[in-house]
Symmetry: C2
Subunit: 221 residues, 2 copies
DNA sequence: ACCTCGATATATCGGATCGATACATCGCAC
DNA sequence: GTGCGATGTATCGATCCGATATATCGAGGT
């Protein structure tokens, strides 16, 4: 679900494609692969669905293009502030490398779509990626939905562990060293994941008891 | 690289599509996703490339269909032995549910293609899956190639870890609880992976010193 | 005797994603 | 000044997935 990742980023700040790609690789780390070949089609889909609106920004107007949230549209890879001042002196309308950009802003429908995608119980097979992505945006979920997400994930991992153990029990001695090491390592990782989830679940329950939203700091960035 | 997984399984025993799918889900566990929508096209590609040959097997001849290796073609999901005897009593030519099967056998070209795919340095982004798959078939690699595979993987993870740490250092306090927990857990898992690889690398070097192929038990199953 | 259900088995379709590539435009170094 | 690298948008072909269609058989209920 690339749409979810895109909407989640646009929720905080409107961005153009190239910068969006950068953040999908950095902020969302390896939780969400992305490439231009999937990003631009996804943006077109979202635009067609009315979830985002695209605005062309050329160099002349780029300098004072500001989002509805009053946040300047970042120029990728660029100049965190001090350097920007220098740039501004050099050329009044601080343009930048590259051609004209297309800035995407999330709409009301987009916000609703985001909530829907985030709350969906996907049960699909690429669940690893999907879970991590949803957890990354868990602050936008109500507490009981967060708990449900964590517990569904836990159940999924427990079931995976059971299947792995069953498979190991029947074919153990037929496996060569590498297969065995792989399976055992995979089992360890899954167990580690489960105990991590247990910690998250307990923390979530604790925060639900003592005042809602105590965990979600920097709620609106 | 579904082809690699398919060829690796067919290398040990000729199989039909349904059983192949089962094994891609069981034996290769979560190391190699697979679905009919990708499996059958992949088999067609391999057949077109001359890497495998397909033989139709109907119910009349199914009972004594045996591979060139003298191994019976398994009937999926079925009767691990005791039950098979009962079935055999009930109906002489132990046919089975389902329609006629198409059994695939690897060719010489297929073996060469397998070696090629296994030795390829993919550097691609879905490297997690690819590495695990290659390690699962590492017994088919010469020792130095195995070592190369492990060390390339280690370097990849070390680099990922560095990027994660850098990202955390710059954006740490801007992350909410869930993002932070996710990133930290991801970091822990990567570190765990690296130390696991270190153990594998050391074992590999040790086995290279004291007699080649000392590690690969059950070489030919 | 019939008949539905589930397992076995092959196959295709549409959609999502990827890697590679093409293209444009600017800043900067030489 | 000119060529290189970063910025930026876009598309192509291939692959993979989930859902679905089709077919055949055994098991079990009624």
């Amino acid at each position: 679900m690339l749409e979810l990742a895109i909407l989640g980023l646009l929720k905080e700040q409107e961005l153009h494609g190239y910068e969006l790609k950068k953040r999908l690789g950095d902020t969302l780390g390896p939780f969400s692969g992305a490439s231009f070949g999937s990003l631009y089609p996804a943006l077109r889909r979202l635009e067609a669905a009315g979830a985002v609106i695209a605005v062309d920004v050329d160099h002349a107007t780029a300098s004072d293009a500001r989002t509805s949230a009053g946040r300047p549209i970042p120029m990728t890879g660029s100049l965190g502030g001090e350097l920007a001042a220098f740039r501004a002196r050099r050329r009044a309308t601080a343009p930048h490398g590259g051609r004209k950009r297309k800035v995407y802003r999330i709409t009301g429908d987009g916000e609703r779509l985001f909530d829907e995608l985030l709350a969906a119980e996907s049960q699909s097979n690429d669940d690893d990626r999907t879970f991590q992505l949803k957890l990354a945006f868990a602050r936008h979920l109500p507490s009981e939905a967060r708990l449900g997400l964590l517990e569904r994930r836990r159940a999924h991992l427990v079931e995976r562990l059971a299947r792995t153990r069953a498979s190991v029990a029947t074919t153990k001695d037929r496996l060569d060293t590498y297969m065995r090491s792989l399976v055992e390592h995979s089992r360890d990782v899954t167990e580690h994941d489960i105990s991590w989830l247990d910690r998250l679940i307990e923390a979530e329950k604790a925060s639900a008891r003592s005042g809602p939203d105590a965990l979600t700091t920097k709620e609106s960035l």
